[in-house]
């Protein structure tokens, strides 16, 4: 059986970045303060943990191909790719990444459409990503999606997962970034 995809994904260079979602290019929401602060906070904690294990990047264009589906690109807010998946080799400025990240982190914006958030989490997991973390600044939650379960963490809990061995991040500490000092 054949299925026809109307449009082959094509690159759109834009700022904020564009992702290929549900058959078309969709530009990311312009980050506001909360998004920006949480993205950097999470990214820096993850990067400290990742030393010797792999690479952590922000706004990193990654091509994903779930089984039986067209290859398309996402731009996770923060991505971790282990050295097991991405060799310890020189990274050239023109290189595109065609490896599913071990972990993808998205900071929710109030205007994000739920259908896109669900679609992205689903595509990541089907492409081989072990863990998708959705950080919601409005609810002060981190939702962990892996292939088997969904876990919603709130302030007072710690973010830990088998995909991030020995990593432990206090959810309250993350959201302290956006509390009144």
């Amino acid at each position: 059986m054949q299925k026809t995809v109307e449009i082959q994904p094509y690159l759109v260079e834009s700022k904020p970045a564009t992702e290929w979602l549900l058959g078309g290019p969709v530009q990311k929401v312009m980050p506001k303060a909360a998004h920006s602060l949480l993205q950097l906070a999470f990214g820096s904690v993850l990067r400290a943990w990742a030393i010797g294990r792999g690479r952590v990047g922000v706004e990193w264009r990654i091509w994903l191909a779930p089984p039986g589906e067209v290859e398309r690109y996402f731009v996770p807010d923060v991505a971790y790719i282990s050295y097991d998946r991405m060799p310890r080799a020189l990274v050239n400025p023109r290189d595109e990444t065609r490896i599913a990240p071990d972990v993808a982190i998205e900071i929710r914006s109030p205007d994000d459409r739920n259908i896109y958030v669900l679609h992205k989490a689903s595509v990541y997991l089907r492409s081989g990503t072990q863990l998708v973390i959705i950080v919601d600044p409005t609810r002060r939650t981190c939702t962990l999606h892996d292939a088997e379960r969904e876990t919603i963490l709130t302030v007072g809990e710690r973010l830990e997962h088998a995909a991030l061995p020995e990593f432990s991040f206090d959810v309250a500490e993350l959201f302290a970034e956006i509390e009144a000092p």
Binding site: M1, H145, E150
Partner: protein, 182 residues
């Protein structure tokens, strides 16, 4: 661009089989909590639906997201309005090729999350207005539409524009369950 995929074929089984992520996957055999929640929600929705459309449980429906192939899912409860499937549709209602307006799934602890996410995404892409996930353990209902996700807890009453005039108090929904911690 063309991509080869397995053609969905119907598997007759009990519990029912659904076509998920390119292959047939049998549903979990329901136990008491699943069964009673399915029935309670189904009755509430059935009563509300009179004159508006059809409600059924374990109803095989064929759904087709844009630029994707048609495949079948078997929602625990589905509501299909008469606008989508006319009252005089006859045999076409037996196994409709139309996305339900509303789908209710009672989640089981053994459900694979990758399947749950996929199902919600497929329903919403195919035109379903609302997908409701009932979590017996957490005593919550999560409502997904294309724009928002909202979690309802005990003490709250479910309402949504996809079901105008319908409301369901979660205390009533979960009333038949053993009290938490008991």
């Amino acid at each position: 661009m063309q991509i080869l995929v397995n053609t969905p074929y119907v598997v007759e089984s009990k519990p029912a089989t659904e076509w998920l992520l390119g292959e047939p996957v049998q549903k979990v055999s329901p136990r008491f909590v699943h069964g009673v929640l399915q029935l309670t929600f189904g009755i509430a929705l059935l009563e509300w639906s009179r004159g508006r459309g059809r409600v059924a449980s374990e109803w095989r429906v064929w759904v087709q997201p844009p630029y994707d192939y048609a495949r079948y899912l078997v929602p625990d409860i589905a509501y299909v309005s008469y606008e989508r499937l006319p009252q005089d549709a006859g045999d076409a209602a037996e196994e409709p090729h139309v996305a339900p307006n509303v789908v209710v799934e009672i989640t089981s602890p053994s459900d694979r999350h990758i399947h749950v996410l996929h199902k919600i995404a497929v329903y919403l892409q195919a035109g379903t207005e609302l997908v409701i996930l009932v979590d017996a353990k957490a005593r919550t209902c999560t409502l997904h539409d294309s724009e928002h996700e909202r979690i309802f807890v005990v003490g709250e009453t479910i309402e949504h524009p996809a079901m105008p005039g319908f409301s369901l108090d979660l205390v009533k929904l979960f009333a038949a369950l053993p009290s938490p911690g008991a």
